[in-house]
Amino acid sequence: MTTTSGDDRSNLLVEVRGLCKHYPLPRSAGDILARRQAAIQAVSDVDLQIATGETVGLIGESGSGKSTLARVMLRLVPPTAGSVRFDGTDLLALRPAQLRRIRARMGVVLQNPYGAVNRRRPVRAIVAEPLLAHRVGTKRERASRVQAALEMAGLPSGFADRFPAELSGGQLQRVGIARALVLSPQFVVADEPTASLDVSIRAQIINLFADLKAQLGLAMLFISHDLGTVSYLADRVAVMYLGRIVESASAAALERSPLHPYTQALIASIPRPDPDQRSAVPPRGQIPSPLSPPPGCPYHPRCPLAMSVCRLRRPPLEEKASGHLAACHAVPAARAVS
């Protein structure tokens, strides 16, 4: 999206089009007679492209659909509508065996490292798990790949025989990262990998991801609710609100001149480590239920700029400046961003 050159297409690794994920709710007898089907609209009509070696940051409040989008992109859950292409292959058309083969090229790092590992197994077994699942290599080859992955994740060789209970939160998150890397994936989804870590450890893990990105040329979807964390890693950032992407731009442009009022509110809400800089007035209210999203623009009940059109029509996600997309009626399409 930021680069408009033609060869960008050939670099495209992950391409999501019109993706929707709705979770139907149980129906009452009345609903069935009236042919009504209520659904939680977790993800609605999302387009997203990630090029080889590119890191896309995904931010938004809890309940905005970030994690659901990631799960659908890995096809851990099937979408309601839309398509996901990975390296040109439609993930939704694949048979299980084919899907398994292509999954070996993707990795995932989860938020809570304590919940993501089997505590009864040593680190080497945890990291080797993807290799076994994909029946890769001989025992010796697997051992050397585990060793290499642990090294990449910044864990000295002594850690292979330790158990999760002997590791700190930061070390355990490195184990999770090693496991995601052991199959040498092209694409890694990291879902809030720094949220549960201490301040000093969070900086270590952010830098580890930055190094991996540079060394391995990974494409990455980095999910976080903290724009600060994302801005140190992402080339491009997409902002989600109530299941939709409401703004997307280069990390620098988004931080410097956010266009959508929601993004502006998110940035203004971040408490600053500076007693002289009081945080701004926070946005009103809270994220509405994805069960019954408001009509028109989903942000209008909280938006300080809301006009009558915002209550009626949902603004499309359109280019407001070069490479800078936003879904807002109040932002003129031709507005130039310095």
Binding site: E61, S62, S168, G169, G170, Q171, D198, V199, S200, I201, R202, A203, Q204, I206, N207, A210, H225, D226, L227, G228, T229, S231, Y232, A251, A252, E255, R256, A265, L266, I267, A268, S269, I270, P271, R272, P273, D274, P275, D276, R278, S279, A280, V281, P282, P283, Q286, I287
Partner: protein, 351 residues
């Protein structure tokens, strides 16, 4: 108790200028006599009337244990020494029955996870009424009108009292917790343990603004435990930085952020991924946070410190020493060497 003269000196009345609460020489160790697991070592702090104190630290630093000790929630056998004076009483010597009249009434508490603070089987109204009746000395507490006024102050619709906890968002539950903590009794001191950690940034900003207003209007003192330095910057007058069960720095909030004195504070501030994004690589501190339980000889921060002075750091633990600025204290050997070192350090503070 190591500090008997401090408690003996205080009279029945609290004169202006005297602290609301004071912790002296508090050491806490869990585990048993044969295998103690130290959590706090020789903590002393004063909480002035209406003052907001931030207690900042990473996991294992002892910040939550300190907060729980102030409310006398740490089981008595684990208190190895020290006193927590609140008004004219030492909370650590009171009986449970006496404490029950102080907690909730004079000391309010707000915890990190509001979801687990409510019983899912009872309505919010029922639970709030119980809290309001319990903490009101006289009769007539816990009327719907009174609870309604409290909910109004924290921005929750009073018409929802008949609802159950699952029908509220985390942010709303935290508002309800704060309503119970601030209005059920008349606390002079609010203890808050990571009150916004499980919340989104927008909700966090709302809660932050609300706490600021409540504190101003009710004149409450606040002890805010957090891992987030930014929250302390936004809400507090004074900040204590904890590491491995000790206070390693104490300063007025403006001084802490403008002139952090302890190398740990400085390194911690540099490792924040702040906006606007600083150019280049984010600074990251080597190693893992230490806890008091695996304390080593010398300064506990020495293995991660980038300003080591030499053998002294590895051999002896520094005391909490004045840095020479506005009563700022830091537990670092550079302050026992010379005044010259202090001046040198002030020049090194990050922009």
């Amino acid at each position: 108790m190591t500090d008997s003269d401090g408690t003996a000196a205080c009279g029945p009345d609290i004169r202006a200028g005297e602290p609301l609460a004071e912790v002296t020489g508090l050491s806490v160790a869990f585990g048993n006599r044969h295998a103690p697991v130290p959590a706090l070592r020789e903590i002393s702090m004063r909480i002035g009337r209406g003052e907001a104190i931030g207690v900042v630290g990473e996991s294992g630093s002892g910040k939550t244990t300190l907060l729980r000790s102030i409310a006398a929630l740490v089981p008595r056998p684990f208190i190895r020494s020290g006193a927590v004076r609140f008004g004219n009483r030492d909370l650590l010597t009171l009986r449970e029955r006496e404490l029950a009249t102080i907690r909730g009434r004079e000391i309010g508490m707000v915890f990190q996870d509001p979801v687990n603070c409510f019983n899912p089987a009872f309505t919010i109204g029922y639970q709030l009424r119980r809290a309001f009746r319990l903490h009101r000395q006289g009769p007539g507490g816990g009327t719907n009108a009174e609870i309604g006024r409290a909910l109004d102050r924290v921005g929750v619709d009073a018409g929802r009292l008949a609802r159950y906890p699952f029908e509220f968002s985390q942010g709303q539950l935290q508002r309800l917790m704060i309503a119970a903590a601030c209005f059920a009794g008349r606390p002079a001191l609010l203890l808050a343990d990571e009150p916004t950690t499980s919340l989104d940034v927008t909700t966090e900003a709302q809660i932050l603004g609300m706490l600021r207003e409540l504190r101003r209007d009710l004149g409450m003192a606040l002890v805010l435990v957090t891992h987030n330095l930014a929250l302390a910057a936004q809400l507090c007058d004074r900040v204590l930085v904890m590491y491995a069960g000790r206070i390693v720095e104490e300063a007025r909030v403006a001084d802490l952020f403008a002139r952090p004195a302890h190398p740990y504070t400085r390194q911690l501030l540099r490792s924040l991924p702040v906006l606007p994004r600083r150019r280049g690589r984010l600074y990251s501190m080597p190693g893992d946070p230490a806890s008091a339980a695996n304390a080593r000889r010398g300064c506990p921060f020495a293995p991660r410190c980038e300003a080591l002075l030499g053998a002294v750091c590895a051999d002896t633990e520094p005391g909490l020493l004045p840095t020479g600025v506005n009563g700022q204290l830091a537990a670092c050997h550079r302050y026992d060497i010379a005044q010259a070192a202090t001046e040198n350090l002030a020049g090194q503070a990050p922009a």
